[in-house]
């Protein structure tokens, strides 16, 4: 899904979850919502252009109302942009997750 034709990058299950993402790039910080998430990467909409191949840090919020626990948890990720395509409004961005850790709020 996120990384061209490499079949190894398509093993994880994609969940159509719409989660808040806080994204840090060299150009600045952005907020977005995922269109789907897997253990291997995330896809989200962004108003700005972002360079494919760029290393990004991002936090995915797992809200308590979805997770069923009484506090929200952030998944702090480091990854790379593998796709940025134009849409009717903004861009659809796909990022692979290279590293992650959970962070409780």
């Amino acid at each position: 899904m996120f990384a061209g034709n490499d079949p190894n990058l398509r093993n994880s299950i994609r969940f159509p979850l719409h989660l808040q993402v806080r994204l840090k790039t060299a150009a600045g910080e952005y907020h977005a919502r995922t269109t789907n998430v897997s253990a291997g990467g995330v896809s989200f909409h962004l108003d700005s252009e972002i360079e494919v191949g760029e290393r990004v840090e991002f936090a995915i919020e797992m809200p308590s109302e979805l997770s069923g626990i009484n506090r929200s948890v952030n998944v702090m990720c480091v990854g790379r942009v593998v796709r940025c395509t134009r849409e009717a409004l903004g861009r659809n961005v796909a990022v692979v997750i290279d590293e992650y850790r959970f962070q409780r709020n």
Binding site: A3, D6, N8, L9, R10, N11, S12, I13, R14, F15, P16, L17, H18, R33, T34, T35, V37, S38, A39, G40, G41, F44, H45, M62, L66, S67, G68, I69, N70, R71, V73, V75, M76, V78, G79, R80, E87, A88, L89, V96, I97, D98, E99, Y100, R101, F102, Q103, R104, N105
Partner: protein, 315 residues
């Protein structure tokens, strides 16, 4: 307002401001629709519901607006006639219900995903279509739709649908409900449905809860009242049962399937950083390895700052 220049009729339009509404949550006196005649004293306390109408045909937009205008608790805050207008409106104008006509996009399923992703949180999406077959119905619901309305819906059902969906219910006709139940039975949810024979014990649920909360194995073990090694063994079993590969996938699976909803699992103590793990960039982690995956909080923090990371696995 920039939205107005895009052709979207916003909530501050002159027409809206000047319309007279004599009594809260009651239909206009002149109305003789079934909805109006069905008004009850309880409706006097209905909360204000903000509605965005996205429809390619003006006649339907006007028609629906007129129906909603009969009710004090239903306010049309925007009307759009194209997909770009709709995306702008739903991402900038707070709404409780979005009525989205599928004719706005040549690829309705993708459009639904886009609308669901861009809508301001809290807005519930209802699609309006002349026809939705079995596969489409299941697919639309999976993409976040809360209700499916026929284009030929009667005024009273339209109003009821909006109120029900805004209240958190799902609006489907009997045929669609049957399709959804059948889809659940036959596991046609494209590989993301829970395994049919899925049975998780209370202890497994507690461990899933711990992982979803970002707890380390050591913390989970303390909470469950067992050892770290036992937690690792449990995690392997859980991974096998749910066909997930690591903690993140387990947490996502748990959220998607609402595994912990109403389970009453306890939460652990707060910690700054836990359970640091490394993905392979593809979510295809190596099989769970023995040993503790989670460094202690200071290690995790250091790893985070330096871009290094700990091991992954059930541990």
């Amino acid at each position: 307002m920039s939205i107005a220049s895009n052709g979207i009729k916003g909530r501050h339009s002159k027409k809206r401001r000047t319309r007279h509404k004599p009594h809260a949550a009651t239909p206009r006196p002149a109305s003789s629709t079934p909805a109006a005649s069905a008004a009850s004293p309880a409706e006097a306390n209905l909360p204000l519901l903000r509605i965005i109408i996205a429809d390619s045909e003006a006649i339907f937009r006007v028609g629906m607006s007129k129906i909603f205008a009969q009710w004090q608790d239903l306010q049309v805050v925007a009307q759009t006639e194209t997909l770009p207008q709709t995306l702008t409106a739903i991402s900038t104008i707070p709404a409780d219900v979005i009525l989205f006509e599928l004719g706005l996009s040549p690829s309705p399923a993708d459009a639904i995903s886009e609308v669901a992703a861009r809508a301001i949180p809290g807005a519930k999406l209802v699609v309006v279509t002349s026809r939705a077959g079995e596969q489409e119905t299941v697919d639309y619901l999976r993409r976040g739709v809360r209700g499916i309305l026929a284009r030929s819906v009667s005024p009273d059902l339209l109003v009821r649908c909006v109120r029900k969906v805004a209240a958190g219910e799902t609006w489907l006709d009997k045929q669609a409900v049957n399709w959804v139940i059948e889809a659940y039975r036959t596991q046609t949810l494209q590989g993301i449905a829970p395994p049919q024979q899925l049975r998780l014990s209370d202890k497994e649920m507690m461990i899933i809860s711990g992982v979803t909360q970002g707890m380390k194995n050591k913390e989970i073990a303390r909470q469950v009242g067992t050892t770290e090694q036992v937690v690792k063994n449990y995690l392997r079993k859980i991974y096998d049962k749910l066909h997930v590969v690591d903690r993140l996938e387990l947490a996502l699976y748990s959220m998607h399937h609402r595994l912990l909803e109403g389970h009453g699992v306890p939460s652990g103590e707060a910690a700054e950083a836990n359970a640091f793990a490394q993905g392979d960039g593809a979510g295809s982690d190596s099989p769970p390895a023995a040993g503790d995956a989670a460094p202690s909080p200071p290690q995790a923090a250091a790893a985070s700052a330096s871009g290094k990371n700990g091991k992954n696995g059930p541990a």
